[in-house]
């Protein structure tokens, strides 16, 4: 048997030189006259080890990383094709602590299989959920998802099964499944990783949603900043269509479902579900007032299930292994697993799928290994640009929707961005307002105008102009934005601003005082 070499094609690995490594390996194979298969797999998510090359040996897979192109020759000399000893050797990838400690349900195949081999997908448990769904009545599928306790992984945490039931119960003949792949939050990359590393799981999840609700058409709306994910999903949809996983007769069930990949155009607000629907319809991405809910009047005015990538990608395993299996993981009302994305100034950054309930401190210090710069952690922003900044004092907060809400934060899409002690929290608060001003759709006043005024107030504060009244003003402004905005962009921008102000008041002292204190 020819050796098989796995070199991630994930864009995180590409950003660290995976293509150059692949080219060197191919050249070296040719020069040495060795026949070997090369698989461009997804990433296992341990980005501090990327590009991580794996070799299939008689004793199982052996990993090497992080590999630079200049080290490839040395790997061949050390006999890495049969698991030879080398300073980059990591042994069995499943035993690397960062990977071994995870509970991989949604990401079970990501980084392991060839993303475009439907055969490998099935061999690793793929399509079992869809086959089961095809033998069930729609209401039974919905009940299974409801029972699993799955909540929307995009950030809002709304129970997925309830959303599906609302769409199922509408009498409309035309319904849609829309996948929100507009993953714009800084610190998040779970959607990108699954689309690049295991795209069929999303295709399968959407097909199950179609069978469950009676929708026959799906759209995946992917942000334009993710060209590799767009290409991967288009390729996977095409393969699935040819294999009749999609089409007029899904896996021989007699039921139809097909989908299209659509690309955004650089508007952050289109991650908001109703703005996304407007964008898909070919309009400006403006937020809609609710009600009506998308489940009643969504895309083109039809009942629409709109779910995040990870919510939909978690459905196949729920159908395959049963609601009870999934529900068994987690704590309180946060059931199942959550793919944490540990990012920013962090030593061991990457994707870490685990049951809900780890504390923020365990995630940052223990799993993440502290900052990359080696300086003390000052703040951690959880949940993207609209999430709160948490100080070390709140590191005992367990990762759970309700526990974070109780501390005036949110888990959002589970992105965790770490900052060391060089961070200036006033600057971060200003950025939150500035970002809201750049990305506001402009429909509601608190967001459109409030964000611009917020930048001005914080600039005056930084300049030391009447600091006490600026703090009073920004607090009042945040309150207005929080209560008066139409969607989470204006409504949640106060989270980073107010948490920075509350937890790091020393950074909000006027400039002369701050200088004197240093």
């Amino acid at each position: 048997m020819n050796p098989v070499i796995y070199i991630p094609g994930d864009s995180g690995a590409l950003a660290l030189g995976a293509d150059k490594v692949a080219a060197s390996i191919a050249a070296e194979l040719k020069q040495r006259g060795i026949e070997a298969g090369i698989v461009r797999n997804g990433s296992r998510g341990a980005y501090f080890l990327e590009p991580m090359v794996e070799v299939e040996t008689d004793a199982g897979r052996v990993a090497y990383g992080p590999v630079r192109a200049s080290q490839v020759k040395g790997l061949f000399d050390a006999g890495f094709l049969s698991g030879g000893v080398h300073e980059l050797a990591l042994g069995d990838p499943e035993k690397i602590p960062f990977i071994a400690r995870q509970t991989r349900l949604t990401f079970a195949r990501c980084g392991i299989t060839d993303p475009f081999s439907l055969e490998a997908y099935e061999r690793h448990g793929g399509l079992a959920g869809l086959r089961k769904a095809a033998s069930m009545a729609p209401a039974e599928i919905v009940a299974e998802v409801t029972e699993s306790g799955l909540r929307g992984r995009g950030g809002a945490g709304f129970p997925t099964g309830i959303k599906w039931k609302t769409v199922l119960d509408t009498g409309d003949v035309r319904k849609y499944i829309v996948c929100n792949a507009d993953e714009g939050d800084s610190g998040t990359f779970a959607d990108r990783m699954i689309m690049e590393g295991d795209p069929f799981v999303l295709v399968e999840g959407m097909a199950i949603a179609g069978l469950a609700t009676g929708a026959t058409k799906g759209f995946i709306y992917i942000r334009s900043e993710y060209p590799h994910a767009v290409a991967a999903m288009r390729r996977a949809v095409e393969i699935a269509r040819r294999a009749r996983v999609l089409g007029p007769d899904v896996l021989g069930s007699g039921r139809a479902f097909d989908m299209e990949v659509r690309v955004g155009a650089g508007a952050y607000v289109c991650g908001e579900e109703t703005a996304l629907l407007d964008s898909l319809e070919g309009k400006r991405g403006m937020v809609r007032a609710k009600p009506p809910l998308p489940a009643h009047k969504g895309l083109f005015g039809r009942p629409t299930v709109i779910n995040n990538v990870i919510s939909l990608a978690s459905v196949p395993i729920i159908l395959h292994k049963g609601a009870a299996y999934y529900k068994d993981f987690g704590m309180g009302r946060s059931r199942g697993t959550i793919p944490l994305q540990i990012a920013g100034n962090i030593r061991h950054g990457g994707l870490f799928e685990t049951a809900f309930g780890l504390t923020l401190g365990e995630i940052v210090d223990d799993i993440g290994g502290g900052t990359a710069t080696g300086r003390p952690v000052k703040a951690v922003q959880v949940g993207g640009p609209l999430g709160a900044y948490f100080p070390r004092d709140l590191f005992d907060t367990p990762f759970d929707y309700e526990a974070f809400a109780a501390k005036d934060g949110l888990i959002g899409h589970a992105g965790i961005v770490v900052f060391d002690d060089s961070a200036d929290m006033l600057k971060q608060a200003r950025f939150a307002m500035e970002f809201c001003a750049i990305e506001s759709c402009g429909k509601c006043t608190p967001c459109r105008i409030g964000s611009t005024r917020g930048v001005e107030v914080l600039d005056r504060l930084a300049a030391g102009i009447a600091p006490d009244s600026q703090i009073e003003l920004v607090t009042d402004l945040c309150n207005t934005m929080k209560l008066g905005s139409l969607c989470a962009l204006g409504g949640f921008t106060p989270y980073p601003v107010m948490s920075a102000l509350t937890h790091f008041p020393e950074d909000f002292k006027p400039a002369p005082v701050r200088e004197a204190a240093e």
Binding site: E50, G187, A267, G282
Partner: protein
């Protein structure tokens, strides 16, 4: 009627794009993406053609083009360099990366070098947050940018 030569050529190409995609559900964004792919920007004279083809007003089409950051009103430089300026990259010094690039290229964000070689833009997240700071050069992703990588990028876009 006298129509400028360049105008008719663009109009004809846009009309053929519209014809090919009109049947899609919600065709406007895909059409605009295709037009930008074809010309490198969305030419002013494309708008009436698209509006007519989709039975929209010109104002509606213009409103959509101007809403989205991606659609360009004029051609970009030969290279497009997008530098992430979102929180994760901020935590790893993206401010510094941006100022080094601005200085080396002699331009600010949203500008193109006078020789037309490179356009510099901010981007808010490339999903490479465990490899911050990050950038994208003509669709190629680059992570963990340090001073050396800044020099490499500058050399590449100047070549």
């Amino acid at each position: 009627m006298v129509v400028q030569g360049a105008g008719t050529e663009i109009e004809a190409q846009v009309a053929s794009i519209v014809d090919g995609m009109r049947g899609m559900e919600g065709p406007l964004l895909p059409i605009l993406h295709e037009v930008q792919e074809e010309f490198g920007y969305v030419p002013q004279e494309a708008l009436p053609v698209i509006a007519k083809g989709l039975n929209l007003s010109r104002a509606e089409v213009y409103g959509v083009v101007s809403f989205y950051h991606d659609y360009r009103k004029q051609p970009a430089g030969r290279h497009v360099l997008k530098v992430c300026q979102a929180e994760s990259c901020q935590s790893m010094g993206s401010d510094d990366v941006a100022s080094r690039l601005k200085q080396a290229l002699g331009i600010d964000f949203h500008q193109t070098t006078p020789d037309g070689r490179v356009t510099l833009e901010p981007v808010y997240c490339l999903g490479l947050c465990a490899c911050s700071p990050a950038a994208m050069l003509d669709g190629e992703v680059i992570g963990r940018i340090d001073a050396d990588k800044v020099d490499e990028i500058v050399a590449e876009v100047r070549a």
